[in-house]
Symmetry: C2
Subunit: 151 residues, 2 copies
Amino acid sequence: MDQFIMQPIGFVSSPYQDQTAIPKGLGAKHETEGKLNILPALEAGLTDIEGFSHLYVLWAFDRTEAGFNLMAHPPSDDRPHGLFTTRSPRRPNPIGLTVVELLGREGSSLRVRGIDMLDGTPILDIKPYLSNIPAEKLRRGWLTEAEARKI
Amino acid sequence: MDQFIMQPIGFVSSPYQDQTAIPKGLGAKHETEGKLNILPALEAGLTDIEGFSHLYVLWAFDRTEAGFNLMAHPPSDDRPHGLFTTRSPRRPNPIGLTVVELLGREGSSLRVRGIDMLDGTPILDIKPYLSNIPAEKLRRGWLTEAEARKI
């Protein structure tokens, strides 16, 4: 079986010290500011990044109980849903994905808004956010239904 | 140093047998259809996925030369740019990220539009695409400048 070994390119500096502090569920706003501290040896890879308003951050769930259930219980609904339709941290591969707004850079440290990771979370990759799906084409499945039930 | 070992949750079925066949650079359209063949043992994790119009696919660059340069030469520009502002396949961690439109599901196989991976590419994760960055807030850095120079 193929295996891929990933190593951190840096670590998140976040005000969240434990999972219970992270806003979750319907209407949770992710406007928390924090830093992406990239390893100094990789700083040149950030050249020109100031021109981008938003970034994808790929990171590792490093403090999540091992294993996963194929049906997940997301905090935004009282019904279970297929794991791959949720952002549950317990997944076959422990990769998290967050879109952040880039506020500034100091050397190899990026100041960002939209942090939803724990302090010290290992960062695996940063990619530019380049395009949107037009809102009128976007369907959000069970999440839309869960929102409607809560109104 | 922390390490994270990733294994495929499935494989891409794509018309692209080699890198040169994949549209790249400015104006490249990614409307190619293909399949995400998830391992049958994980099929329950796809429950309810039909309600979502778009998905994030995280996948592994499994046929890319090892190593990376911190300055990359993207096909959309004749100037080099910081690796983390590009989608270069040669990165510290070989993770690719593609947004696809979900066209249909047959068991553990998802028919999608927007494939830009090679045939047989290992899939690491699937996540729901839930929200957009408003277009008026989006800045695309050197890519916007490169487009302006080509007009």
